[in-house]
């Protein structure tokens, strides 16, 4: 473990000096870029994010990606990115196609893209894996849970998008409308939760469609937006019934939507973000509901660049979860997780950074019912009400 960490750190130290690569192919310039990050988490009591963090800590917190893209004509570009991660019991080094699409811009206010496309939703949904873009080592988990990235990160389908300049006074409106198919990885939070409860997980997938509308207001630095996503998912798997054996189950969405509202204000070296997300899902089979989830989260974050290469940040993130109808005849349940966070980020150069972050959490959601950071699989003796976590993360990009 220690040897692996040292190897990763040496790799980062060498790779930090890699310049972005470009080469010519059929007279077109192809750019190649990549990134990687390595984290370490120590918690006082509860194990977090499917890692055994509460003893010495865990360094099973690595991700990396690489892409190639080219501009075929002034209006047409293509590209693709692969992504891989290992986060405790999630990811498990199974690479995936992160995005791969063709994009055509007719006008600045009208473009289309098709293929596997990152889903634009809220301030950071499509860039949540890109550690080097953010002050924080972990984005607020109430809105961007790292163990559930599969559920919102991308869709196989298309977008219609554009920027509408309303003039100097009203500002700029940017829109994205999307539709496509989502398929969760076998190595995501849902799969881990359900397999830990003895279920065979075959997959969650289905139709996803929605849109995002954001307004760069005439007040310099102020952005406001709203996103909506509807889903029509199916969960397939099997459960072992005593005396009967394995019984196949299939649950379908009866109602499944997400609303997100957000704002960002940048002034000189200060950035303030706030977002609210509500996720509602009613699932069942043959029209009979068997689970109803209502999840509401918000955060308020601020970061300030105190020196050319140093940023300080803090956020408060609140998450409530309610199961008016819980699975397999369990009683209704509610849970929460409130997280106070402080962070320091140092950019060693343009390509490498290191972050140190403290989390002070109250609550642990509903570990038996919904995947959100805390799982009974790595906490077999139960969970304590509060958790303090130290996160150290370094990353590079080229």
């Amino acid at each position: 473990m220690i040897r692996r960490l040292i190897a990763v750190l040496i790799f980062f130290a060498c790779a930090g000096w890699l310049p972005a690569q470009e080469f010519k192919l059929f007279d077109r310039t192809v750019q190649v870029h990549g990134f990687a990050s390595q984290g370490f988490i120590h918690t006082d009591d509860n194990n977090w994010l499917t890692m055994y963090t509460s003893n010495i800590g865990s360094g099973e917190f690595t991700d990396l990606g690489a892409n190639a893209s080219t501009q075929i004509t002034d209006s047409f570009r293509i590209g693709a990115q692969i992504y891989d991660r290992n986060l405790g019991h999630l990811g498990k080094w199974h690479p995936s196609l992160d995005w791969a699409y063709a994009q055509y811009k007719f006008k600045p206010w009208l473009g289309i893209r098709g293929g596997k496309v990152k889903t634009v939703m809220g301030l950071y949904n499509d860039t949540q894996d890109l550690d080097f873009l953010h002050t924080f080592a972990l984005l607020p988990q109430s809105v961007y849970p790292i163990d559930l990235r599969d559920t919102t990160i991308a869709h196989e389908g298309g977008d219609i998008f554009g920027d509408i300049h309303l003039g100097n006074r009203p500002g700029t409106l940017s829109y994205t409308a999307f539709a496509g198919h989502r398929q969760d990885s076998q190595y995501g939070g849902y799969a881990y939760l359900l397999t830990n409860q003895g279920m065979t997980f075959d997959g969650i997938g289905g139709l996803q469609y929605g849109g995002d509308l954001r307004w760069a207001t005439p007040l310099k630095g102020l952005l406001m937006g709203i996103s909506r996503m509807n889903q029509d998912m199916s969960l397939k798997g099997a459960v072992n019934m005593p005396g009967i054996g394995s019984v196949a189950i299939r649950l379908n969405d009866m109602s499944d939507w997400t609303n997100q509202y957000y704002g960002q204000y940048s002034w000189k070296k200060l950035v303030v973000d706030a977002e609210y997300r509500r996720y509602y899902m009613l699932m069942g089979s043959n029209g009979v509901p068997s689970a109803e989830e209502d999840i509401r989260g918000w955060y308020l974050a601020g970061s300030y660049q105190i020196a050319k290469r140093v940023q300080l940040g803090s956020y408060y993130s609140r998450y409530w979860i309610s199961f008016p109808i819980a699975y397999v005849g369990q009683p209704p349940a509610t849970g929460h997780d409130y997280d106070k966070v402080v962070t320091g980020r140092v950019d060693l150069n343009r390509f490498m950074n290191i972050k140190v972050e403290g989390h002070f959490m109250d609550g642990y959601g509903l570990p038996n019912l919904y995947p959100n950071g805390f799982y009974t699989g790595v906490n077999p003796l139960g969970l304590k009400p509060n958790t303090i976590a130290l996160v150290v993360k370094t990353g590079f990009n080229f």
């Binding site: 972005a20 750019q31 870029h33 990134f35 990606g65 892409n67 893209s69 501009q71 002034d74 209006s75 570009r77 590209g79 693709a80 990115q81 995005w99 699409y101 994009q103 600045p108 893209r113 990152k118 499509d126 860039t127 890109l130 080097f132 873009l133 920027d163 300049h165 310099k220 940048s266 070296k269 660049q305 343009r350 990009n397």
Partner: protein, 145 residues
């Protein structure tokens, strides 16, 4: 009383002069240059911003354009702040978010005024910026309206 009023007046005049001087210095701190294939002789500041933020890759007259950045320095800082309304760090974050979501490319970046002029001169559609004193031989200077 009279003496104090004169002192206040002098202070106001000096203050306004200082503001004017710094504004003029700011406006004259960057020269925008383009490859000779760009037919326009002037661009609006909105158009320039759209080109450098990769929202547009042609000008109103239809000329193909591509932005070229300086790697750093006072001229770069002034250009980014004056025309793009961003700090260098925010601009780099912006480009990286485009590159890693597939929506854009990282613009070419050069290390000096001489390198900028040389690259813009030989690259069709290139638009860059240099200090006002830099030689613009082989490129055209664009007026920013």
């Amino acid at each position: 009383m009279m003496k104090r009023r004169i002192q206040m007046k002098s202070f106001h005049v000096m203050f306004v002069a200082l503001i004017l001087a710094s504004t003029l210095a700011w406006a004259g701190s960057v020269k925008v240059i383009a490859n000779s294939s760009v037919s326009a002789s002037a661009v609006s500041s909105d158009e320039l911003k759209s080109v450098f933020l990769e929202e547009k890759n042609s000008l109103a007259d239809g000329s193909h354009v591509e932005p070229v950045l300086a790697k750093g320095g006072a001229v770069h800082e002034a250009f980014v702040k004056q025309y793009l309304d961003k700090s260098d760090a925010a601009l780099q974050t912006y480009y990286r978010s485009l590159v890693f979501t597939g929506k854009g490319s990282m613009p070419k970046a050069v290390g000096s005024d001489a390198e900028m002029v040389s690259y813009v001169a030989k690259t069709k559609g290139a638009i860059g910026y240099v200090s006002p004193e830099a030689s613009a031989e082989g490129v055209k200077t664009l007026e920013v309206k």
